[in-house]
Amino acid sequence: MFEAILLTVMTAATPLVIAAMGELVAERSGVLNLGVEGMMIMGAVCAFATAHMTGSPYLGVLAGIGGGALFSLLFGFLTLTLVTNQVATGLALTILGLGVSGQLGESFVGLAGTKLQPIVFPVLSDIPFIGRVLFAQDLIFYLSIALIIGVNWFLFKSRTGLKMRAIGDNHGSAHALGINVVRTRYLAVLFGGACAGLAGAQLSLVYTPQWVENMSAGRGWIALALVVFASWRPWRILAGGYLFGAVTIGQLHAQAFGVGIPSQFLSALPYAATIVVLVIISHNRRTTLINTPASLGKPFVPDR
C-alpha cells in the first residue's frame, strides 16, 4: 500500500522535476523563460501523436523532447536575438503552445494512448521495498534522476557550466572575458525546452497515457516556482518536486477516502502550497538577492 502510494508520488513528481531542471539551467544562464507550460504541452502532444502513430512510446519520448526544444528556439530567437521582453515572450510561448497543442491534438482526443512500460532491472528490483520503487520504473523516471546528477555535474564541475553560471551572474563581465553570452544562452534555452518537452512526454505517455487538452494543468508554472523554491540548486529541485508530488497525490487519496473536505479545495492545495512556499523562500530579501542569478531576465545587447 505504502509502496503503491510512493510509486504514484514519484510519477506525479517526475514531470515537475524534469521541467524544473530545464528551467533551472536556463535561469542559471540568466534567461527567465515563462513558457515552460507551453513547451511542456507541446512536448505532451508531440509525444502522444508520435507514439500513437508509430506505436513506439520511445519514439514518442524523442518527439516530446524535440517538440519542446524546437518550440523553445522560438523563445530564444525573440529574447536573445531580437532582445524582446522575456516576461511577455514567455507568456506568448505559453499561449501559443496551448493553442497549437490543442489544434494538433484535436484528432487524438479520446484515443487510447501507448503507455511507456517500466524497465525492470532483474536482480535489483527484487530488493525488498526499494527494489520496486527504484528499479522497476519507466525510462523517463531514470532520465529524471540522470538529469539531476548530470546537471549538477555540468553546472558545478564542468568548464562550460562554470561559464554558464558566470553569464547568469554578470553577463557584462562574461562578455568582457570573451565568453559568448548569446550562444551559451541559446543552448541553455534549448536544454530547458528539451526538458519541458520530456516532462510533457511523461504526462501523455506515463502519468495519464492519453491526450487531453491543457493536460499540463499548470505544472509548467509549478516547475517555475520550484526553481525559486530550490534556490537554483539541482538537488533541492528533487526534494521540492517530490514534496509537490506528495501534495498532489495526497490530495487525490484524501478525495478518494472522502475526508469531508470538498475535492476542489484539495485540488487547489498544490497551487496554494506553491504560493506559501514562494512567500517563505522570498521573504528574506538578502538571501533572495544572493541566490538569484543576478542577470536573470535582463536584456543583453553586446556593444562593439
Binding site: K157, R159, L162, K163, R165, A166, G168, D169, N170, G172, S173, A174, A176, L177, G178, I179, I290, P293, A294, R304
Partner: protein, 532 residues
C-alpha cells in the same frame, strides 16, 4: 615605422595616433604612447580624461576609430580580450570584472585554458598569490571578500597567464594605505622579473613613488610625458588639470548670511553590499556660500546626496536642517516645499527619464513644489500641459538649451544640453538650498561654464549651494569653501582661497588633518613625506 622609441630601446607596446569616437565626442584623440620592457609606466589624468577608453582599446574591449597599436614592433589589431591575453597583455580593471556568485578559483579559471582542471588552477593560484604576497583562499566566494581581496583575484588572474604587460586601472582607489603598500611591493617584483606595468592613476604621490615614466592625458589628448621622479606634485598636477587652474577668476560673493543647510552627526549605514556608509558627517552652508565637496568616485558622494535630498531619509530627524527646520525624516518633496532643490549625478534614469519629453521631465522634479502652477482639477491632479510646456520653454531659453523640436525627448539631447535643462529646472524656482552632484560630468566646456556661472549667480542671490564634484577645475571655479569626502567621511570645510591643489589631492587620498583621523593617516603622511 615605430619599432623603437627615442632612447633607441625597443618598445614592448607602442601606440600611434590612437583615437576613439563616441558619436562626435572624441574620448581619445590621437594618443601616442610607448612602454618599454621592465618599466612601470604611469598614465595620469583626471576622471574623464580618456584613460579608461585608451586601456579598453589596448585590451580589445573597445575598437579604436583610428590609429595603430604596435606590439613588440609589429602592428596588431586587438579585437578581443582573448587576443590581448594571447599577445601577453593582462588587465586589472577598475570596476572588477568578477563574478560575485562564484568562488575565487572559479573566477580565475574562467579566463584560463579550459583544459587545465579547476583544482590545479586553484593550487597554482594559491601558490602564485603567496609568492607575490597576495594571500588568497581559492574556495572563498567573491561576494564575501573585501575590495582589496577582490583586486588580488584580478591581479592573480592576470599573472597566471604569464603576461609581458600588466595594465592596472586606478588600483589604489579602492585600497587602504597598507594594502596599497603591499601592492607596490608586488609591482616591484613584477618589474624585477622584466615585466612591464601600465599604471593608471590620478594620485600624484604614488605615481612619483613607483613609476619610471609617465604619460599625462587631459581631455583625450596627451599633454605631457615625463619622468615623474623629476617632477613635483604641483608640476604633475598642472599637466593633469591644466595650467589654467590658478588663473580662474571668481567674483567675490559678499558676506555670507545665515546657515540654510546644516548637517551634524549624520551616520548612514550602507544600504546595499556595494554602497559606502556615511560616518559622522557634518557640514553647514550659509546663504551666499558655495560649498564644494571634492573626492574620488565611490567614496560616499552618492550616499551623501541621497541623504541630503531625502530620497532615502535618515533616521535622526535633527541630523539635517534646512532653513532651521529639522528635515532628516522628511521625504524629498517635503524638503522641496521648504525651498530646497536637488540635481542628482546620473542624468538618465535618475534626474531624467530619457524616453520622456522635456516638459514631462520638468514635471518630474516640480509637480509637488509647483502644484498650483502645474496642476489643476483638485484631487484629480490634471496636468496643465500648456503651463508645464511654457515653463520648460522658459527654462530652455534661460539656460540656452539647444534642442531639436519644440518639446523633444530628454534622451535626444546631448549630455551638456540635458544637464543645462536639469540644472535650469531647479534654478527656475530660485531654491534657497541647492544640492548638486557632479554638475558638469561628461558635459562639454560651453555648457559646463554656463552651469557653473548659474550656480555662482544663485549663491550671489542669497542661496546656499552644495556642489559635490570630482572635477578640481570646477571646484576652484565655483567654491567659496571646500570639503573633501573620503571613505564616507567628510573633512572640515576650508575657505577656497586657503587650499592648494596639492592639499586637496592629499585630502582626497585619505590624508586628513591629523586632528581628525590620526591613526590611519600617520602612515600615509609619513609615506608622502618620504616621497618628497
Amino acid at each position: 615605422m615605430v619599432s623603437s622609441q627615442d632612447q633607441g630601446e625597443p618598445s614592448l607596446l607602442s601606440v600611434r595616433g590612437l583615437t576613439k569616437l563616441f558619436g562626435t565626442f572624441s574620448a581619445c584623440d590621437g594618443i601616442d604612447l610607448d612602454i618599454a620592457p621592465g618599466e612601470i609606466h604611469a598614465l595620469l589624468g583626471e576622471n574623464g580624461a580618456g584613460k579608461s577608453t585608451l586601456v579598453k582599446m589596448l585590451f580589445g574591449v573597445l575598437q579604436p576609430s583610428a590609429g595603430q597599436i604596435f606590439w613588440q614592433g609589429k602592428p596588431v589589431s586587438i579585437s578581443s580580450p582573448g587576443q590581448a591575453r594571447n599577445l601577453g597583455i593582462g588587465m586589472v580593471f577598475q570596476h572588477f570584472s568578477l563574478f560575485e556568485a562564484l568562488t575565487v578559483g572559479e573566477n580565475i579559471a574562467l579566463s584560463l585554458d579550459p583544459k587545465i582542471s579547476l583544482s590545479k588552477i586553484s593550487q597554482e593560484a594559491a601558490a602564485l598569490s603567496h609568492a607575490y604576497g597576495l594571500p588568497l583562499d581559492p574556495n572563498m566566494h567573491v561576494a564575501d571578500l573585501s575590495v582589496g581581496e577582490r583586486q588580488r583575484i584580478e591581479i592573480v588572474r592576470a599573472l597566471l597567464q604569464n603576461p609581458k604587460l600588466i595594465i592596472l586601472d586606478e588600483p589604489t582607489s579602492v585600497l587602504t594605505p597598507q594594502e596599497a603598500e603591499r601592492l607596490f611591493e608586488t609591482l616591484f617584483k613584477l618589474k624585477a622579473e622584466g615585466r612591464s606595468v601600465l599604471y593608471i592613476s590620478h594620485r600624484l604621490d604614488e605615481v612619483r613613488q613607483i613609476c619610471d615614466r609617465a604619460t599625462v592625458l587631459r581631455h583625450g589628448k596627451v599633454t605631457g610625458a615625463c619622468d615623474p621622479k623629476q617632477e613635483t606634485p604641483a608640476s604633475l598636477a598642472r599637466m593633469m588639470v591644466g595650467s589654467d587652474v590658478a588663473a580662474v577668476h571668481r567674483e567675490e560673493l559678499g558676506a555670507p548670511g545665515e546657515a540654510l543647510l546644516e548637517v551634524s552627526g549624520m551616520s548612514v549605514a550602507a544600504r546595499t553590499p556595494f554602497s559606502v556608509s556615511l560616518k559622522d558627517v557634518a557640514l553647514a552652508v550659509r546663504a551666499g556660500e558655495v560649498l564644494a565637496i571634492a573626492g574620488v568616485a565611490g567614496n560616499g558622494q552618492g550616499e551623501l546626496f541621497d541623504a541630503l535630498s531625502g530620497e532615502y531619509p535618515v533616521s535622526d530627524k535633527d541630523a539635517i536642517k534646512i532653513r532651521g527646520r529639522s528635515v532628516g525624516r522628511m521625504r524629498i518633496n517635503d524638503r522641496r516645499l521648504l525651498g530646497a532643490g536637488f540635481v542628482p549625478e546620473e542624468r538618465h534614469g535618475h534626474a531624467a527619464v530619457a524616453q520622456m519629453s522635456l516638459s514631462d521631465n520638468l514635471l518630474l522634479a516640480r509637480a509637488h513644489s509647483d502644484r498650483k502652477a502645474f496642476l489643476s482639477g483638485g484631487f484629480a491632479s490634471v496636468i496643465r500641459h500648456g503651463a508645464v510646456r511654457s515653463a520648460a520653454a522658459r527654462i530652455c531659453q534661460a539656460m540656452d538649451v539647444r534642442k531639436s523640436g519644440e518639446d523633444p525627448a530628454a534622451g535626444s539631447l546631448s549630455g551638456g544640453n540635458l544637464q543645462k535643462f536639469i540644472v535650469g529646472r531647479e534654478l527656475d524656482r530660485q531654491p534657497s538650498v541647492l544640492v548638486v552632484n557632479q554638475p558638469t560630468w561628461g558635459v562639454d566646456a560651453g555648457a559646463a561654464s554656463r552651469i557653473r556661472q548659474a550656480l555662482i549667480d544663485l549663491a550671489k542671490a542669497g542661496s546656499a549651494v552644495v556642489v559635490i564634484s570630482q572635477d578640481l577645475d570646477e571646484i576652484f571655479e565655483v567654491a567659496t569653501s571646500i570639503a573633501v569626502i573620503s571613505e564616507g567621511k567628510l573633512s572640515q570645510a576650508y575657505p577656497a582661497g586657503e587650499l592648494s591643489l596639492e592639499r586637496i589631492g592629499l585630502l582626497m587620498g585619505g590624508i586628513h588633518d591629523s586632528t581628525q583621523h590620526a591613526s590611519h593617516d600617520a602612515a600615509m603622511a609619513g609615506e608622502a613625506a618620504d616621497a618628497h
